[in-house]
């Protein structure tokens, strides 16, 4: 009756059924009673109300029974949740990195992937980290969700029980492209997984360090390097070109030199590129060092 996409589906869905069942029972009873009274004691049919006395026994009963009932429901919920915090010792480890607006998954051996590929029936612990703001690691089919909070080491774990692709969504609001921050969880047989992980590139082999600075800081979510327009203007052929910007409401032309690139990163709302909204790009003062800005600028020079 319950799917076995993960080992938690059973506990969670059971809680849904039990608590939802009681809820439905109360809703139907209250509504039924109201309709019955409205018909039966309608003023036309019952012009004079009958005053009744408070009954302490009745009140004690309808206080005690709900208390027992909610305690039971609490227990069912806790029972479904408790295993989510008990990671088996032999679980394999993966790190999910949330960053505006892209998921990355780090595997042992310094390997990195955009898709979370996992072998079936093997417990996996996912360490949750964030590079910027809070993101939510949410796989609806597995009934798991836990936030990636910057500065904290949260985790989630599960045992996938079904082959196939599942949606991974960001559940915690994280800015303009929040609703596009999704990825795929791909559950494969163990041998396929072994093949896949063996073929996965070791990261840090990036030919250009400037590019990885952009990547690491999430710039590429808004800026393309191939000329296409995303949230912000493309960085292709930017360096050395003339850009039309708005400064304090007045439009003027400015040449995209080192100084301009630096200002764009540290104080993006000062000169706003025409046709793009203000306030979308945040200032990276404090997060990106001068050294990194130089690396970025150096890299932009090569993007002709």
């Amino acid at each position: 009756m319950f799917s076995n996409a993960s080992n938690f589906v059973h506990g969670v869905d059971k809680a849904f059924l039990i608590i939802g069942g009681f809820s439905l029972f109360f809703l139907v009873s209250f509504t039924g009673i109201m309709i019955y009274f409205v018909v039966k004691y309608n003023r036309k049919r019952n012009p004079k109300a009958t005053q009744i006395k408070d009954n302490t026994l009745l009140e004690v009963t309808w206080t005690t029974l709900p208390i027992l009932l909610v305690l039971y429901m609490f227990y069912v919920g806790w029972q479904g949740f408790f295993p989510m915090r008990q990671v088996p010792k032999d679980a394999m480890q993966v790190t999910a990195i949330g960053q505006m607006w892209k998921w990355k998954f780090e595997y042992p051996g310094n390997k990195e992937s955009d898709t979370l590929v996992l072998p079936i029936n093997r417990p996996v612990k996912v360490n949750l980290v964030s590079k910027d703001v809070i993101h939510g690691f949410f796989v609806p089919a597995f009934r798991i969700k836990e936030d990636c909070v910057p500065g904290k080491n949260n985790f989630s774990w599960f045992i996938p029980g079904q082959l196939g692709d599942f949606d991974l969504l960001c559940s915690a609001y994280c800015g303009v492209n929040h609703s596009y921050m999704s990825a795929v969880v791909r559950i494969v047989p163990q041998d396929k997984y072994d093949e896949w992980i063996a073929a996965l590139q070791v990261k840090g082999n990036d030919t250009n360090i400037g590019h990885s600075v952009l990547d690491k800081n999430g710039c590429l979510a808004c800026h393309s390097i191939d000329g296409s327009k995303l949230v912000g203007p493309s960085l292709k052929s930017l360096y050395g070109s003339t850009v039309e910007v708005k400064t304090n409401g007045t439009t003027h032309k400015i040449s995209a030199d080192d100084e301009y690139i630096k200002n764009s990163i540290y104080d993006p709302d000062k000169d706003v590129v025409t046709g793009y909204p203000q306030g979308v790009m945040k200032s990276y003062k404090g997060t990106i060092t001068d050294k990194d800005v130089q690396l970025i600028t150096g890299y932009l020079k090569t993007l002709k």
Partner: protein, 535 residues
């Protein structure tokens, strides 16, 4: 305008004070006029907010961009949330009907501090002005959601400082109003009116006022910390400055959960007034209802963690907050039992206020029981931060507080203006609102369980059919609201003259003429020890 020509008196609407025209409203010290100017402001703000809600629904009718850009959408749900929460539902019933009727219900001439009351309104309007201004200032509307979660809120380039400052100012208005009502209830009751002789709406306002007074300073300080972090880089919340983002969530919800009770307790109070009147029956379980208000307010202070089950809190905190959340459901259930018992063997008059009260019970039950699913940790893991939450809080605050507001206005409008609205149109509008509301929000429970996150500008194609149903519901609801409001406005301005006690109620407001005279009671009111003394 007077409905009671036989004994000559001057109603508060006709009374000529020091000021003329609009100034006789914004400089008034009369609690009734202050209640009305709060109401006008709230209706305008609610209409703006509801329109934004509809625009978001139109955007969501199809995947991809429909009528606006992602950044616009994000600003829209933030501003919609800020308006609806901080300016409409938190002050809501308490400032409108609390102001107008609390003094009358306890036999007083006014609130304890009329000047403070007027000042609270000015502060409120200032806060609203600031919040509206934040939409149009340089860096674009705030885009953090009304929850202002750090570190997004401390780093985004949009107009966060202005919006948080507005919420801070609005908080002051709320604190001062709470203080005023507490003192009013303690000091201004008519001779012979003991605490347990008060109508239950006053009890609800009393419990609410304590929550306002005690909880609001916490959000005030939290928002100031946020502003300080943005302006001076003080690391309270941003981990790259040595802060803790989860600390923000704790501080925010320590206030914002009790804030839910600030909105809903007066709503429960309104329903408790309406049911006996339209059943012509003594309220069942007076003490249980009065004390359950205090219980809800008290335990409500200790459940905030249920908004943070997936934030990485300790396991102990997770079960503890889940446990307390389940407990707080009990006093709410007790109220429903008492209402149903009050209807038993009553003589039920199915007029618009009572229809709204019945639909309140239905919607509040759905909102409350889905709250159990959010309070249970296992199920919350699935539905936290999804459309399920959006449906849940709309059922509680719109289906609950909102419908209670509609109930209250249909109940008390003849007293406030001395005129009656068109009953048939009001009933039709109620039907449209009820159908539209459920069509708009019920599908979102299912969407949430299926995994549609909230605050999503775009979504996966499998979610579309239910999103379309929801948007259709949105249109129906907005239509119903326009119809309802126009009927009420027409009633208040040109409706038939209403008798002083059109519903045959027993509480004190029905013993004085409509609209009431300036100081409510021309003769000292006679206090019946049982406020619901139906024969």
């Amino acid at each position: 305008m007077s409905g009671n020509k036989k004994n000559e008196y001057v109603s508060y609407l006709e009374h000529q004070g020091k000021y003329k025209g609009i100034f006789s409203w914004i400089f008034t010290l009369d609690h009734k006029r202050i209640g009305l100017i709060y109401m006008y402001a709230i209706i305008v703000l609610f209409s703006i907010g509801a329109l934004m809600g509809l625009l978001m629904r139109i955007e969501l009718i199809a995947p991809g961009e429909t009528i606006m850009k992602p950044q616009t959408y994000n600003g829209m749900f933030t501003v919609h949330g800020i308006i609806m929460i901080f300016m409409v539902v938190i002050p809501g019933l308490s400032v409108v009907f609390g102001n107008f009727f609390l003094p009358i219900l306890i036999g007083a001439k006014d609130v304890a501090f009329p000047k403070l009351n007027r000042f609270s309104w000015w502060v409120y309007i200032t806060g609203c002005g600031l919040a509206i201004a934040s939409q149009f200032m340089q860096n674009g509307p705030p885009d953090t959601g009304w929850t202002f979660y750090a570190p997004y809120s401390t780093t985004t380039g949009s107009n966060v400082i202005m919006a948080t400052f507005a919420a801070f100012v609005l908080g002051f208005s709320s604190i001062l109003t709470g203080l005023n009502f507490i003192v009013t209830i303690h000091q201004m009751r008519a001779p012979g009116m003991k605490f347990f002789n008060m109508p239950l709406f006053s009890w609800a306002i009393y419990a609410t006022a304590w929550t306002q007074l005690l909880a609001t300073p916490i959000v005030g300080i939290t928002l100031l910390m946020l502003i300080a972090e943005r302006l001076f880089g003080i690391g309270f919340f941003n981990p790259s400055l040595g802060g803790d983002p989860v600390l923000f969530q704790h501080l925010f919800w320590i206030y914002s959960h009790p804030a839910v009770y600030i909105m809903i307790l007066p709503a429960l109070g309104v329903i408790t007034e309406i049911i006996p009147t339209f059943c012509q029956k003594k309220i069942y379980g007076y003490k249980a209802i009065a004390l359950s208000s205090l219980a809800i307010a008290g335990v409500g202070f200790l459940v905030w963690g249920h908004h943070m089950f997936t934030s990485g809190m300790s396991d102990q905190a997770r079960w503890f907050f889940s446990f307390l959340t389940f407990l707080v459901a009990v006093p709410s259930a007790i109220k429903v039992f008492n209402w149903l018992a009050t209807m038993y063997k009553g003589s039920i008059d199915l007029k618009p206020p009572f229809l709204y009260a019945l639909s309140f019970i239905f919607l509040f039950t759905i909102g409350g029981t889905t709250g159990l699913l959010l309070g249970s940790v296992a199920t919350d893991v699935q539905v936290h931060d999804t459309a399920f939450v959006v449906a849940h809080f709309h059922y509680i605050i719109f289906g609950g507080m909102g419908f209670a507001f509609f109930a209250a206005i249909h109940y008390w409008l003849p007293k406030m203006y001395g005129r009656m609205y068109n009953m048939k149109r009001a009933t039709i509008a109620w039907g449209i609102n009820f159908v539209g509301f459920n069509l708009l929000y019920f599908p979102q429970f299912i969407l949430g369980i299926e995994g549609m996150p909230r605050r999503y500008f775009d979504y996966l194609p499998q979610f579309q059919p239910l999103e379309v149903v929801s948007t259709i519901g949105g249109f129906i609801l907005i239509g119903g609201l326009i119809f309802m409001i126009s009927n009420l406005v027409q009633g208040a301005r040109k409706g038939e003259i209403a008798p002083a006690n059109p519903w045959h109620g027993t509480t004190l407001e029905w013993q004085i003429p409509s609209p009431p005279p300036l100081e409510n009671f021309d003769e000292a009111p006679i206090i019946n020890p049982n406020p619901y003394d139906y024969k």
